[in-house]
């Protein structure tokens, strides 16, 4: 019998990847395409959902060709995606009503301020597990409905569909205007602020708080579930999983037991801990979210520390400052010096996420002297990611009263050895990278393969996890304490910068 494979589509913030995995979870082929980021005003971040769909249309067949694999050899397709990014489109034409509003976008800052001032806002966190912030989908969707003439009427009439990117892709892959499925998975739904975290259904109170018409919402399904077959691009492939990228990474790192934790380094960075069947309500700035839900089983909860800007700071350094040609060169530049020279960068580009949640914070570079070179700035860029990790690790420890003895990492930035070493140094625990750095895709493939019986159970998947690299701490305690204190002072300087515009 011919070899069989599982396909994953990882629709990320800056690019879309399609990857084929074999039964031993080894990568067979991978094709990637970047899409455009639009910044029409300061703080606004948009993407063209049609461009993203066209990219999927190109990379799926290309991945099969590169791997020499026929569509009939693909037993399952798993979809994973950038979370929270909101798309609204016309169900009759399939055309989006405008560009997608991306998770990093902070146009809703004032709206969120107004919503927070309402007395009913106190119960929001209890219902959805999330603090009111620009980051999540509901404020973005409300902004669209409030600011586009006629949109709310069309939504109420049932002419418009809302979705995160998973929903947009599944709807298109299963036929679009001719019978496309309008579904989402529970992990993506848990990031909208519209789903009740306890019942895992759309919550009438939340819908009324944000004034969202129910007809535009997709059906919430488990993370592993046979959604149906693709009818377009590569027809006949079974879509059997969908989950948010960070949840997929948790799955790909095989963090199936309570207490297991991973951190994924990409555009932003996200530390997630599996909390099993326990819904932990955070008092230290972490988010309560769904880890994953296997079809027919209760959901597994997770606690999340979200960092908005890590890899995107390196991209900013490359594209906006032009100090490096490619992202990996940040390491080369940083290694031209031996320390940060007293310089710190706090990249509060979208305010600060976990554990601070300061929407009004803005980025700073502090400690500048004539001694500072671009090498010191490059160090400060990498250290910013390390210290932001330390803050969420500390919050996790404060929440649960235990600190972990190692950190499992994944994502593209794990190729940066100086960064990984610095993270080990500031956390004072070993940093472990598994054999597949593309853990987001692997997690989507695992979930999809599990749903169709390609892999029998979670334990079988665990056996595929192997250590590829380990970094051990090298700094002494005094240096670590002193640097952490400096970082904390720098963070405090970012607070309270942005003021609401006078009208």
């Amino acid at each position: 019998m011919a070899q069989r494979y599982v396909m994953a589509i990882d629709q990320g913030t800056t690019s879309t990847r399609c990857i084929l995995f074999d039964h031993s979870a080894r990568l067979v082929s991978v094709v990637q395409r970047e899409h455009r980021q639009y910044h029409p005003r300061p703080g606004w971040v948009e993407q063209d959902a049609v461009e993203i769909w066209r990219n999927v249309d190109r990379i799926m067949p290309q991945t099969l060709r590169d791997g020499g694999v026929g569509a009939d050899q693909v037993v399952a397709l798993g979809i994973t995606n950038q979370r929270e990014t909101a798309v609204v489109w016309d169900r009759h034409t399939g055309v989006p009503v405008g560009r997608a509003i991306v998770w990093e976008d902070i146009r809703t800052e004032e709206l969120v301020g107004e919503l927070t001032a309402r007395p009913e806002s106190s119960g929001i966190r209890e219902r959805c597990g999330l603090p009111l912030a620009t980051y999540f989908s509901a404020p973005k969707l409300k902004w669209l409905l409030d600011n586009t003439p006629g949109l709310r009427e069309r939504a109420v009439r049932g002419d418009l569909l809302f979705g995160t990117i998973d929903t947009w892709l599944i709807w298109n892959l299963t036929g679009g205007v001719s019978g496309g499925l309008h579904v989402t998975d529970v992990t993506n739904a848990s990031r909208t602020m519209l789903m009740n975290i306890t019942t895992q259904a759309w919550d009438a109170e939340l819908l009324s708080f944000f004034d969202i018409p129910a007809p535009m919402l997709p059906e919430i399904r488990a993370s592993t579930e046979i959604h149906g077959k693709t009818t377009r691009v590569v027809p006949g492939v079974t879509i059997s999983a969908a989950l948010g990228d960070q949840h997929a990474a948790l799955f790909g790192q095989t963090c199936f037991a309570k207490g297991e934790t991973k951190c994924t380094y990409g555009t932003g960075s996200f530390l997630l801990m599996n909390t099993g069947d326990t819904l932990v309500k955070s008092e230290h700035g972490l988010l309560t979210t769904i880890g994953y839900q296997l079809g027919g089983e209760p959901a597994t909860y997770a606690l999340e520390g979200s960092i908005a800007v890590t890899g995107s700071l390196v991209q900013w350094f490359r594209d906006k400052l032009g100090l490096i040609q490619s992202a990996p060169e940040i390491e080369t530049l940083a290694r031209t010096v031996t320390d940060n020279g007293g310089c710190y960068i706090v990249p509060a580009f979208s305010g600060l996420f976990a554990p601070h949640w300061h929407a009004e914070a803005r980025g700073i570079i502090v400690g500048l002297t004539s001694y500072i070179s671009k090498g010191h700035l490059a160090r400060a860029v990498l250290e910013a990611t390390a210290w932001q990790t330390r803050e969420v690790v500390d919050a996790m420890a404060a929440e649960l009263g235990v600190s972990s003895k190692a950190l499992k990492v994944d994502g593209g930035m794990t190729a940066d050895h100086l960064l990984m070493q610095t993270i080990a140094d500031v956390l004072d625990v070993p940093v472990l990278r598994p054999m597949v750095a593309e853990t987001v895709s692997l997690g989507a493939a695992y979930a999809a393969g599990l749903a169709v019986g390609y892999w029998p159970d979670l334990e079988g998947l665990r056996r595929n996890w192997h250590l590829a690299a380990r970094w051990t701490p090298q700094w002494n305690d005094d240096d670590r304490q002193a640097e952490y204190a400096n970082w904390k002072r720098a963070v405090e300087l970012t607070f309270g910068w942005a003021k609401p515009r006078k009208r």
Binding site: A25, R26, A415, D416, A469
Partner: protein, 235 residues
Amino acid sequence: MLRLLARGSGQYGLAEIAASLGLPKGTAHGILRTLQRVEFVEQDQESGRYKLGAALLHLGTSYLDANELRSRSLNWADTLAARSGQEVRIGVHHDGAVLVVHHVFRPDDTMQTLGVGAMLPLHATAFGKVLLAYDASLARSPLTSLTRRTIVSPQALERVLAQVRAGGWASEAEEYMPGEAGIAAPIRAFGGLVVGAIGVSGAVDRICDSASRPKPALVSQVASAAEAVSRALSD
């Protein structure tokens, strides 16, 4: 064509270039496309005119950033380690030796230490033989004997390097360290230039068969990983 572009205004349209060099337009366009891909030539977005590219300025310096090489080869180095069951490293030439720029542990979850930054001898390792075979300019430092199997005769080394070029891969058994062996293949940047070597290494009985020859399955895995990385660099 490059000399033409270096002249005068420094900006030429396709028709001018073709006419100046007496080339058919199609041919000139093909050459320009190639030069553009390696960034020796840039095309102005608005006017469509061609000029010399930034990469020409860096011709004499390092061709590919080592951290960039690691970043682009991450997936395929992992895959090679998973397929072969061996530890994987990527080496580049630096200062008369092989500099290890990437290392993936052997996937057996035993205690291992990251070897990035280590320097290895050119003549006694599979990585080094690959780098020597494809770069005649590399200085042949004295062939120091490291084990009783190290190749110390320049003639013998040349014969081995010719075999490396013919086969597209190199190996080594107990030439660097007793009991250890390795296999490596060249990583090529766009245009074919060898910029590094990827390979597996470990105990002789893991890498070689009973006759001390490298296992053919491993050789083909290493070669296909090298091709995959080379493709990734050309994208």
